[in-house]
C-alpha cells in the first residue's frame, strides 16, 4: 500500500480524534466527507506532521513518517484559505519549497514556468497574492504545494472558498493534479463537490478496523 495510517490518534485541547485506519493505493483520490468540527483539518495536519500524533503510525510510500518533522515528509498540504505568503509575489510563492530545499535559481525558474503553464497562471507570476481572485489564489496555492513534487497531497476544503461557477473549473484542476500521479486526500463537508473527482469516498472519521 502507498499510504498506511494505522491506529492514529490525535488530540487538540479537549478534542480527540481516532483511532483512524486508512490504506490507499498510489495515485488514488480519496475524499473524506464529514461535518464541520469532526476533526478533518486536525487529521490532515497530523499526516502533514504539523501536529504530533498521540498514538499510531503513518507510512507514505514505504517511508515511516510518524516521527518525522513536516519538512522531511513527502507530503504537501493545501490550506482551506490557501495561506499564500502575502509579502512574496506569486512566482516566489510557487518557488518557496524549492528554495527551502536548496534548489538552484535556474531549476526554480524552470519549475515555476512549467507549473504555471500547466495550471494556466503564467500571467500572474509577477502579481501580489492580495491582488488575485479566489480561483487564481487556488491555482497558485496548488502550484506552490506541488512544486517540489510531493507524493501525497492533502486538500483541506479546497473548494469552499470559491463561488459555485468557479468550482467546476477547480474540480477539473484537481483531477489534473491527480493525473500527474500525486495521491490526494481531499476533506470536505460538502458531498456535492467531490462527485466525479474522487476514486474513493469515506465518511469522516472512518471507523477503526481494530
Amino acid at each position: 500500500m502507498f499510504l498506511e495510517i494505522r491506529d492514529l490518534v490525535c488530540k487538540a485541547g479537549d478534542f480527540s480524534l481516532g483511532p483512524v485506519d486508512i490504506s490507499l493505493e498510489r495515485g488514488a483520490y480519496l475524499a473524506l466527507f464529514g461535518p464541520s468540527g469532526s476533526g478533518k483539518s486536525l487529521f490532515l495536519e497530523t499526516i502533514a506532521g504539523i501536529r504530533k500524533s498521540n498514538r499510531g503510525y503513518v507510512t507514505v510510500d514505504g517511508m515511516e513518517c510518524t516521527k518525522l518533522p513536516p519538512q522531511k515528509r513527502p507530503v504537501a498540504m493545501l490550506f482551506q484559505d490557501y495561506a499564500l505568503f502575502p509579502h512574496m509575489k506569486v512566482s516566489d510563492n510557487i518557488a518557496f519549497s524549492l528554495r527551502m530545499k536548496g534548489k538552484g535559481r535556474e531549476e526554480q525558474e524552470r519549475r515555476v514556468m512549467e507549473l504555471s503553464r500547466y495550471l494556466s497562471i503564467e500571467d500572474l507570476l509577477e502579481r501580489d497574492p492580495d491582488s488575485l481572485s479566489g480561483g487564481e489564489r487556488q491555482r497558485v496555492a496548488l502550484a506552490r504545494a506541488i512544486a517540489s513534487e510531493p507524493r501525497l497531497l492533502l486538500l483541506d476544503e479546497p473548494l469552499s472558498a470559491l463561488d459555485q461557477e468557479l468550482r467546476e473549473d477547480a474540480s477539473e484542476l484537481l483531477k489534473k493534479i491527480n493525473l500527474l500521479g500525486i495521491t490526494i486526500i481531499h476533506v470536505t463537508h460538502n458531498k456535492a463537490e467531490i462527485e466525479g473527482i474522487a476514486t474513493q469516498t469515506l465518511n469522516f472519521p472512518p471507523p477503526s478496523q481494530f
Binding site: 495536519e45 513536516p70 519538512q71 498540504m77 490550506f79 495561506a83 505568503f85 527551502m100
Partner: protein, 265 residues
C-alpha cells in the same frame, strides 16, 4: 421619529463634540506650549554657537551612536524572546512578561542605582571587565547598558505584538513546504512583522537616547546630551541649557517623524 427628538440629539451631539474638542485642545496646548515657548525664547547667536560647539556635537553623536548600537545588540536577544512570547505558552509566562515591563514602571534613577551595583568593580560583571583592564562605570558600555535597560520593553512588546499578528497558518504552510523553524522565522514571520519590529527598534532607540535618570548615575562622563543639558543647567543656568535642549529636541523629532512616515507608508 419626531423632528424635535432628532434636533435634541443633534444639539446634544454638537455640545458633546464642542466640549470634547475644547478638552482635547487644552491637552494638545499643554503638550505643545512649553516646547514652542522654549523655541521662541531662543536667541539665534546662542543657537548657532551651540550647533558649532564641539562638546554638544560630540555628545549628540555619542548619544545617537550608543543608543543605536544598544538597540542593534539588544535586538539579537529581544526578537527571539518576543517571538517565544508571541507563539508559545509556558509556565510563568505572565511572570516573564511582568519582568519585561519592570523598567517602564520603576524610577529610572532607581534603575541606575541597581545597574551601578551590577557593573561596579565589586560585581561579577564589573570585576571580570576590570580583570581585562576595563572599568565599566563611567564608560560608553555603561551608558549603553543603562539605555538598553530602560528602553528594551518597547522593542520586546512591539515585536511581540507584531509576531502575534502574523497568522499561524502561514508558518504551518511554510513548514509543510520544507522550511526549517529558523527559515520560517527569517523568511515568513520576521518580514511580515517587519513594521512592528522596526517601530519597536525606533522606539527603543528614541527612548534610549532620551534617557537621563539611569545614565547619569552609571556614567556622568562621557556626557550624553540629556546629561549635558542637565550639566549646563546646573552649572550655568537656563539660558545655557536651552539651546542644547532645542537642538536635541529637533534631532529626536526628526527621528520620530521618520518613524511616523514609515508607519503610515
Amino acid at each position: 421619529m419626531p423632528i424635535f427628538v432628532l434636533m435634541r440629539e443633534q444639539t446634544f451631539y454638537n455640545k458633546t463634540r464642542i466640549n470634547f474638542i475644547f478638552l482635547g485642545g487644552v491637552l494638545l496646548l499643554f503638550l505643545i506650549a512649553p516646547l514652542t515657548g522654549m523655541f521662541l525664547s531662543l536667541k539665534a547667536p546662542n543657537l548657532f554657537e551651540t550647533i558649532k560647539d564641539p562638546q554638544v556635537t560630540a555628545s549628540i553623536t555619542r548619544t545617537l551612536l550608543i543608543s543605536f548600537l544598544a538597540t542593534l545588540i539588544c535586538s539579537l536577544f529581544a526578537l527571539p524572546l518576543a517571538y517565544i512570547l508571541a507563539r508559545k505558552n509556558f509556565p510563568l509566562k505572565g511572570v516573564a512578561e511582568a519582568i519585561i515591563d519592570i523598567p517602564v514602571v520603576i524610577p529610572h534613577s532607581a534603575a541606575g542605582i541597581a545597574l551601578l551595583g551590577f557593573i561596579s568593580r565589586d560585581s561579577l560583571l564589573g570585576s571580570a571587565a576590570s580583570s581585562m583592564g576595563f572599568n565599566l562605570v563611567g564608560s560608553p558600555v555603561a551608558i549603553g547598558i543603562a539605555m538598553a535597560f530602560v528602553s528594551i520593553p518597547f522593542l520586546i512588546n512591539s515585536a511581540r505584538d507584531g509576531f502575534a499578528a502574523v497568522p499561524l497558518r502561514l508558518e504551518k504552510a511554510a513548514e509543510t513546504l520544507g522550511a526549517t523553524p529558523f527559515k520560517i522565522f527569517t523568511k515568513i514571520t520576521l518580514p511580515l512583522a517587519k513594521r512592528s519590529v522596526v517601530s519597536g527598534m525606533v522606539l527603543m532607540f528614541a527612548r534610549g537616547m532620551s534617557e537621563f535618570g539611569a545614565v547619569v548615575i552609571v556614567a556622568y562622563h562621557p556626557m550624553t546630551t540629556p546629561v549635558l543639558i542637565f550639566d549646563r543647567f546646573n552649572s550655568f543656568g537656563l539660558d545655557y541649557a536651552r539651546p542644547v535642549a532645542a537642538v536635541f529636541i529637533v534631532v529626536t523629532v526628526i527621528i520620530f517623524l521618520i518613524m511616523r512616515i514609515y508607519q503610515k507608508k
